[in-house]
Symmetry: C3
Subunit: 399 residues, 3 copies
Amino acid sequence: MDAKLQSYIDKLNKLNFKDMYENDFFLTWEKTDDEIEAVFTVADALRYMREQNISTKIFESGLGISLFRDNSTRTRFSFASACNLLGLEVQDLDEKKSQIAHGETVRETANMISFMADVIGIRDDMYIGKGNKYMHDVVDAVTEGHKDGVLEQKPTLVNLQCDIDHPTQCMADMLHIIHKFGGVENLKGKKVAMSWAYSPSYGKPLSVPQGVIGLMTRFGMDVVLAHPEGYDVMPEVEEVARKNAAATGGSFTKTNSMAEAFKDADIVYPKSWAPFAAMEKRTELYGNGDFDGIDKLEKELLAQNAEHKDWCCTEELMKTTKDGKALYLHCLPADINDVSCKDGEVEASVFDRYRVPLYKEASFKPYIIAAMIFLAKVKDPQATLKALEERAAERHFRK
Amino acid sequence: MDAKLQSYIDKLNKLNFKDMYENDFFLTWEKTDDEIEAVFTVADALRYMREQNISTKIFESGLGISLFRDNSTRTRFSFASACNLLGLEVQDLDEKKSQIAHGETVRETANMISFMADVIGIRDDMYIGKGNKYMHDVVDAVTEGHKDGVLEQKPTLVNLQCDIDHPTQCMADMLHIIHKFGGVENLKGKKVAMSWAYSPSYGKPLSVPQGVIGLMTRFGMDVVLAHPEGYDVMPEVEEVARKNAAATGGSFTKTNSMAEAFKDADIVYPKSWAPFAAMEKRTELYGNGDFDGIDKLEKELLAQNAEHKDWCCTEELMKTTKDGKALYLHCLPADINDVSCKDGEVEASVFDRYRVPLYKEASFKPYIIAAMIFLAKVKDPQATLKALEERAAERHFRK
Amino acid sequence: MDAKLQSYIDKLNKLNFKDMYENDFFLTWEKTDDEIEAVFTVADALRYMREQNISTKIFESGLGISLFRDNSTRTRFSFASACNLLGLEVQDLDEKKSQIAHGETVRETANMISFMADVIGIRDDMYIGKGNKYMHDVVDAVTEGHKDGVLEQKPTLVNLQCDIDHPTQCMADMLHIIHKFGGVENLKGKKVAMSWAYSPSYGKPLSVPQGVIGLMTRFGMDVVLAHPEGYDVMPEVEEVARKNAAATGGSFTKTNSMAEAFKDADIVYPKSWAPFAAMEKRTELYGNGDFDGIDKLEKELLAQNAEHKDWCCTEELMKTTKDGKALYLHCLPADINDVSCKDGEVEASVFDRYRVPLYKEASFKPYIIAAMIFLAKVKDPQATLKALEERAAERHFRK
């Protein structure tokens, strides 16, 4: 057997991830360290096999259902790529074209689309308290449908961004870090600055900063969350970060100074988001159909944002990071000064210098998603990887 | 060979369905009893094989074209699942994104999309006298295209609901009944109540009640069509039902009393639809571009509907059915009292009790569609099923 | 080996097309004669293999990205068919559903969608000076992405129509001609009339007439471009046509008389387009956001068009062609007198007589696209075709 592929299998052999089989992926902190490590390992293995032109198609037929309740390019194509890599055909549930009756239960829709579905990917990040709950409703419905004999198989859910976490993004970010630093074992003591940054647009989801502090505190790193006063994230996720840090010998701290966060940082993640309290208020206004209230809130938030234009990832700030060379991360698209807007999250020269690493960061997402599906759908991943190598079907048949 | 699969093949061996090869599926009553039975048998066989993890992919490449002129979730996903199960990739003809020139003939469009199409599925149920005709125009065009050497293969048409029939729905309903009652042989003398029911929405298609009376009268059952005065269905379909009943020793009767229909019924199918005469009028108004007339008609119909709120499938009515336990059917989504609307087709407690069977009823549709395609695209279905078993490709490769 | 397939391979063996590997397809005149011939040959070979039920699926997984910035049926389905034939799943980049940030660079989007993309097909024909440039920007981005290690593979670009050329259309037209006349060797001295024709619609792209004169002048034919005064095409493409003609012993001439062009023509291609100068002006107005100016220009152009209603492919004109039987071509949909409009490009009786050949003309497009992809993605096409025959996977598994 190929030595590198064997090394991935060896790594998996040391991990306990048996509960991932026939399970779902909602939040990274609901998974054990071994499970998180298994996702990274399978993602690397699938990527390696694709690079070796070995097909990792484990489905001859089957659907991957996607439901995007918010626009998406990166995640949409990542999900499509992951499904396709494993042999599933993507079928998008476009709620505009669907005959989803007024008052139709989630339970019903979820079952009706899942007769031949092996995976359901959902993005639902717009309203606090809603997205993650909706995903659970879908999973409860298909789990019951499977138990009742309605569905031959239980599709696995992949959270493609909810109101709480953005696990496929943050795990792609993290796998990028692991590769950059040469392994998890080199991360202890590294400083990560997850910092708010100014953007002229309003109401960006909280799921990225929350996902980052909820995941990156698990590797013994010193994670700093920086934002202007009032831009707090969900307190329960901060609590997760604190517990993670305590358990792994790292730290989780907060500051209202971007400069303090960047100082000597090994990794910086400057990105805009909306204040949690404001997003809660917006959800409430939306629930009451108070659109005037939403307009008013939007104006207030834009005005509040505008007071913090100095929260920008400048060359000057980058110089203060470790050796002036911190790894700059972003989930993309970034608001770049004088490119996508006048004032934004990052200076163009900084962004340009990190463009290639940023694109590589993004390139992990399809493999992270594929690994999540693989681990949910295959009982013995090590044996299956081995069998795929032995099957030796070429991804691209050519002479 | 697997005994169960062999039993399906044995059943097929007794049937004459050779005319289905390279043919199309418009209306169930255009098919012989043997042909209908062949669809049920192949549907069961394909489902069984999928459950045994045997791939039934008969196409390495090829497109399944879908054209939905009305919103759809259930049928859209059923068609996508069926195509995918057989190896065809769905390509949706979205008339909004298409460069279909003003005045472009159906003949031209049908050929232009079919160069590599093995199946075309169409839903066109909105206007009386139009949908079924449109499907025939498409089939005539591709038949001629194939004959003329334009198309290498003639795609088969699957009627995904027209103005006259909804064959994939009604055959899924029927296969559900067959399984529930333990075989066609147990259906003789069973009473079926196809009943109108109140819905706050207006203008629901007639194709389900028509499809039901056109199909279910073929099994020696006593089919009762119940509706308030004025809610008649197409007279020619009633004529079909009468002839079917006469030929199979069953009966087809009509009543204006829901209670009478439900009394001692073994199967009930309470569902709203629009009066045939009103739908004809709407088609005419639409043809004349008389949108004020359409608005006026809609108001009249809603007012007319509102006089019949007592046509609801209540617990009380259900008690009057055979042993109080008639099988409740619906094509979904149902209008459920106090769930999707205040007053609707069915009480919530009735619907809830039958939820699992209803979902199972729906689960037959992908297999019914796949069977229709299979029988149109495979010359010797028995030998092909056998060959698929021998090929032994796994649908889901895993250890 | 099958003799006919061997003859295609023999033909390829005589051609030099090694630069097509890992390359892109923008404009036909950027390709050598051998390369153009290779596309025709592979298109014929793939079609032949499909007719023999031999699967030509060379990808077990992989995406074919489509981006249509203009409506499309024919090209959309041709691209989907071509991708599907080779094993790629089409994923449409719908710019309306995408989170493409204001100001996001083409470079970023192109990389983000390409992690598992083997081909990108783009239609961008609306603005002079923009479409082809956009395609180059995309190719530059993914080429760099591949070089930088962001993308495992460089997707190949297929120009599905730009402001300059419509290569998949014109090569399908040309392959149709080659088959009709029994081979390239019979084309010398044949007269082709690429003529403007009246249409009540405004602003049809120039890419078809340009593509036609840019390609058909390469086969020793006498190509005449006819249009009313003021309806010139891009001068640089006329220059290409002149050079082609000079090099191959044919001719390229211009006239303002449709009758002169049709006289003794072997092939006629009457089709509407917009004046190049007007299209340039429109692009400028659009760039300045001058929508009143665009409306005004539209009115002027419609008035100008209306002066040339006599530019119609009539029976009378057809009689003046070679033996009254010139091969009538059109990219479809055509504006047909009294069918799609009162006055249009062609009389209904002419169109009807050529309907079957026209549909056959269109049927080459999926194979032309597949051949372009095949030649870009396979290092040794001859060996690969041979290996596909030996693999002997059936496209349609059946007994």
